[in-house]
Amino acid sequence: MVEDLDNLFLLFIGAVGIGFVSAITGIGGGSLMVPFMVLILDYDVKVAIAVSLLCVVVTSSTAASTYLRKGLVDLKTALLLEPSTALGAIIGAHITLALPVRVVKGALGLLLIWISIMMLRRALKGMPQGRIVINLPNRKLLAVLSSFFAGISSGMFGIGGGVIKVPVMTLLMGLPIKTAVATSSFMVGLTATSGGIVYLAEGYIDPPSVLALALGIIPGATLGARAIGRIKSKLVLLSFVAVLMFAALRLLYTVIT
């Protein structure tokens, strides 16, 4: 159990910032939480992933609760895609536990580069409006398979996986973006639980760190939600891309040296 109070305080302050950026950019905090914990607070990468997953359960459950009450979650789609996603998360968690730390850091660095490129495209082109459905045979099967890989990335790297799930639901399942975000939020909690329990059973979860992260993200996200409209979200998104790219390169550099 981490008993360094200074570290926990820094984690709390960092979480406020992560929650703030997440609310403005609409991106889950997992992709920022793990690099922040590993690069700045010197956490073991596997502990950071485990803590991030449990924190993702807290944040996504809070959001999904509102979406469920408002009837925005497409339950049929969520429950069609979730079994393969959860299975992927459990397999992903086992893969990370079996791999050496250097390999996990390297793979995480590559994933962060991919996420930052996706976000850069979004910042430059803007969010797609309306429904764009790709007409392919076996679209549902493809969606189930893609969700499996979303689950693997979630279990392996402590992210929610919404960055894969939302495009899958809009492009392959034909859901409107708002419904896809709400449905993804509901699914993320179940996915993170599936992966998180594996890490919990192996003793990788540090509860004080989960508490510090969760308690920081909630006020940060509230502040971020209030700041929307007053801050240029494109500027925040571009700053997010720069930070994420820097974190990815730094992670890869630590692997090489």
């Binding site: 359960v57 339950l75 049929k76 639980t193 989960v210």
Partner: protein, 89 residues
């Protein structure tokens, strides 16, 4: 047909809050009790909240006789539970 999932929504929101409070109590009392069991219960409460919420969805669907969603939610629950149990062995 719009489904009323208020109970599942309440479980999700207050389940994680309860888990965080239990972890906080566990940390505060750790030096007196010399045990991490309270902290573990809090962590487990957080981790299991989405599954409990999914169970409540199954019950709501059974009550409303929505067989399609009930079967899907049961299948999800069973697959997650089997995957977790086998991975813990």
């Amino acid at each position: 047909m719009k489904l009323d999932l208020k109970a599942s929504s309440i479980i999700l929101r207050y389940g994680v809050i309860a888990g965080l409070i239990i972890v906080l109590i566990g940390i505060a009392t750790y030096s007196y009790l010399k045990t991490q069991i309270v902290i573990f219960i809090g962590t487990l409460t957080i981790a299991l909240t989405p599954l409990i919420s999914l169970t409540s969805i199954c019950i709501i669907m059974a009550k409303k006789r929505r067989l399609d969603v009930l079967l899907l939610s049961l299948a999800t629950l069973i697959i997650i539970l089997i995957s977790i149990i086998t991975s813990l062995d």
